[in-house]
Each structure stands twice: as C-alpha cells, then as structure tokens.
C-alpha cells in the first residue's frame, strides 16, 4: 500500500517558518493532541489547542509525518482531519493484545454499489439499479445502516426518488481525506460521460 499523504496539498507548503523553536514546540504539542484524541482532528482544532497559526500547524504536520515515517505509528489524513494510527503491518500483534477479531469487510456487491454512489452522488436507487442491472434496495438499506451512505434529498422527477450520498463514516472506513482522494474513475474504464437514464 502506498503512502497517500500526497493528497493534502497544504502539506506541500514550505516548512520554513521564522521561528524554529516555536515550530518544534508545535510539532510536539500536535503529536500529543493527535495521541489523546481517538478520532480525526481538524487543523483549526490543532491551531486553537496548540495556540499557533494554521500555517505553523501545516508545517508541523508535515514534519510530524516525516518523523513517523520510520515508526510503528503513522499520521493519516482522514475525513478532513488527521489521526494517529498503528501501521497495518502490526495489525496481528495489536489484535492479539486487544483480543479483537478481524473486522468484517463489505460484501463485493455492497462495495460495487458504494463505488457507484461515491462517484455519481447524489444518485437515486433506480439510477444505481440501472448501472448494476439488479435491484439494490437491500444493499442500500445495509449501507445506510452502516452509515456509509445517507439520504440527502429527493430528485425532482417522477416519484421524487430519494437521493443518496456518501457520509463522513465512508471517508473513515476507507481512510480517505475527502472525496477528491478517490482514485480517478477514468483510469478504470473508457467512460466519457455517465449514461442518460
């Protein structure tokens, strides 16, 4: 698995602030904040807690990611924030310690349906059905139950069908910083435009 850190452009900014000591302190403070939080932390939250400007936060995050490159933990950009997580290579050791069973992956049909929704959102159930060639009621229900998708409105057409979109839990499930981090669909087939339904 490749490092997906490149997806967040803000980190590419030069990490050369005027005050090295202040930056160093910000790196340490942000490390502590990410550690103490059990969920993604937005850069504004870090800036407020560490009491530094957001430019310093961006530079500090870049440094922190570099520092963790060789360690057991890694800094992930997820759902608009950052989180500290263990590396997949050590999953078995952590599971043995926690006594946790492996998490249940999505079924193939659910994953395909989710892919369609992720790229075509907002999308109605009949539109999903048209792509898949089978009814998707049950799968949509399960995906909604797992909070990976939700209803965002109704389409202004016959029957006013509900429109589905992906959620923040979707981004967390796949470790995506945002929808822009999804692999470009063009790479996967010769689709010029979505078919008219």
């Amino acid at each position: 698995m490749s490092d997906r850190s490149g997806a967040i452009p803000i980190l590419d900014e030069p990490a050369q602030p005027p005050d090295d000591a202040r930056l160093y302190e910000a790196v340490r403070a942000i490390e502590c904040i990410l550690f103490a939080s059990g969920e993604p932390v937005r850069p504004e939250q870090m800036a407020e807690a560490a009491q530094v400007p957001t430019e310093i936060v961006a530079a500090a995050l870049a440094i922190l990611r570099g520092e963790y490159a060789e360690r057991g933990l890694e800094v992930q950009a997820v759902a608009g924030g950052y989180q500290l997580v263990t590396r997949p290579a050590y999953a078995e050791a952590v599971r043995r310690y926690l006594g946790a069973a492996a998490r249940e992956p999505l079924s193939q049909a659910a994953l395909e349906t989710l892919a369609i929704i992720a790229y075509r959102q907002p999308i109605t159930r009949p539109e999903v059905d048209a792509v898949r060639g089978v009814r998707s009621d049950y799968i949509l229900e399960r995906l909604e139950e797992r909070r990976l998708i939700h209803v965002v409105g109704r389409k202004d057409t016959v029957g006013r069908p509900m429109l589905y979109a992906t959620t923040e839990a979707f981004l967390r499930h796949f470790g995506l910083g945002g929808l822009a981090d999804l692999p470009p669909l063009e790479r996967f087939g010769q689709i010029v435009s979505p078919p008219e339904l």
């Binding site: 939080s37 790229y119 089978v134 049950y138």
Partner: protein, 256 residues
C-alpha cells in the same frame, strides 16, 4: 445487530450452485436458464435453511430475490407479449452503443471497487487509540443502581398522579439552567429527592433527570452519597474539581 450470522443460504441445483443473489444476477445476464430452474425446490430449501437460524434481513433479501426470479421465470415461460406499438425511438445501433456504454460503466465500477477494497483492507488493519472521553470519576460513592432506584421512586410517584394533560414543553436547557439556579440558592448542595417534587409529571421527571445527567457530564454538578445508607446529595462543582478530572485523563502530568 446482525453482525453474527448463521452460514449463508446456498442454492444447489443442476445448473447453478451458489448464493441466491448471484443466481439472480446470472439469470439476468442470461447465463443461467431461468425456465429450467426449480424455483419451488429452491424456496423449500430456503425454508428448511431458515428454520436452523432465522435472520430477518437475510429472509427479506431472499424473498426479494425469489420474487424477482419468479417474475423472470413467468416472463420466460409465457408467450412473448406483442411488441409495443411504437418502435423504440433509437436506432438499433444506438441501442447497442448505449448497452455497450452501460456495460463499460459497470466494468469501471467493478474495477474501482477493487481499488476501494485495497483501501478498506488497509484501513481495517490500523487501530486508533481509544479516545480519552471524560469518564467515570464523576459519581463518587454512588453506584448506578442507587441513582436508578431513586429515579424509579420519583417516576413511580409521577405515574400515580391522575391523567396528565399535555404539559407545557419543557426544554432541557431550561431545566439545566433551573437546576443550576436551584443549587446556587441551596448554597451549592441539595438532596437528590428534592429535585423531584411530588407534583412533577413523568415528562418533567425524565427531563429533569436528563438535565442532571448532562450537568454531570459537563462537570458542572457532582453527586455523592452521605454514609452507607444516606441520601444522595447533588452539589455544584468548582473549577478545581474540573482540573483534577482533566489531570486524571492525562497520565503524564504527575510524572514529570
């Protein structure tokens, strides 16, 4: 929740073996001949299967799928209806193109699903730290059963009252503010029972209780028990209490 399930239902017929959903898909793609499928047998097999461990959601899916198969089979067995009076507006070539495009789209999504599977697999192997929620230590000397018993008493009292008229809407924010005021007036401390006067309605009691819980969560109010059989006291918390609680979730603080 349905995370743990019995073994999934598998269809065994002469022409197909596998899950129902896959059977439907293959029928729709014309790869399995629906007219030769023994649907009654499949349905009977499913009933036997579901007796071993009935899962409502699986059953719902199975019924949907079986119904779709029955419909497809009926259509396949019945003589074809006359074609629609108006021919489709598209040229056959356009139809082929549209179909081709649709197939290409589906193939692309199937491929991209593979990429997403890799992301999912990665993410399922990483672990977050358990979040440091403010927890536990807010209820000194009070076990939950104590609190709940007290709550049951006041609720039972509320229930004995004659039929309630729809009460004025009570908001939790109002009740929280009222509780704080009440505690301040009582110089910072009062008995739990005193929060629930005899004339309180059930809704009022519930809202008061939730307001109290919220104040406890926000560390504005603490609860303690006076003596082993004593009453439960509610008291206002000071900032020092809050800081002590925060220290409790930061193990490093005392060490350096």
């Amino acid at each position: 929740m349905t995370e743990t399930r019995a073994a999934p239902f598998v269809v065994h017929t002469a022409t197909f073996e596998g899950p129902l959903e896959q059977l439907l898909r293959l029928v729709q793609q014309g790869e399995v001949d629906v007219s030769a499928l023994p649907l009654a047998e499949i349905a009977a097999a499913y009933l036997t299967h579901s007796r071993a461990g009935f899962d409502v959601e699986e059953a719902t899916e199975a019924i949907w799928t079986l119904a779709a198969l029955v419909e497809l089979k009926a259509r396949a067995l019945l003589p074809q209806p006359p074609p629609p009076e108006e021919p489709p507006p598209e040229e056959p070539g356009d139809l082929d193109a549209a179909m081709e495009e649709r197939v290409a789209a589906y193939r692309a999504f199937k491929d991209v699903a593979t990429a997403m599977r890799a992301l999912e697999t990665y993410q399922q192997r990483v672990f977050l730290r358990p979040g440091e929620e403010p927890a536990g230590a807010l209820l000194t000397g009070v076990a939950l059963p104590d609190l709940m018993r007290a709550f049951q008493e006041v609720l039972a009292r509320g229930r004995e009252r004659p039929r309630e008229v729809i009460p004025e809407p009570i908001t939790l924010a109002e009740r929280m503010a009222a509780l704080m005021e009440l505690l301040t007036e009582a110089t910072g401390e009062m008995a739990f029972q005193a929060l629930f006067p005899g004339e309180a309605t059930r809704l009022e009691i519930v809202v008061t209780f939730l307001a109290l819980l919220e104040l406890i969560r926000l560390a504005r109010v603490g609860v303690r028990r006076e003596g082993p059989d004593g009453t439960i006291q509610i008291f206002l918390r000071t900032n020092a209490d809050v800081h002590r609680r925060m220290d409790a979730v930061l193990p490093g603080r005392d060490a350096g």
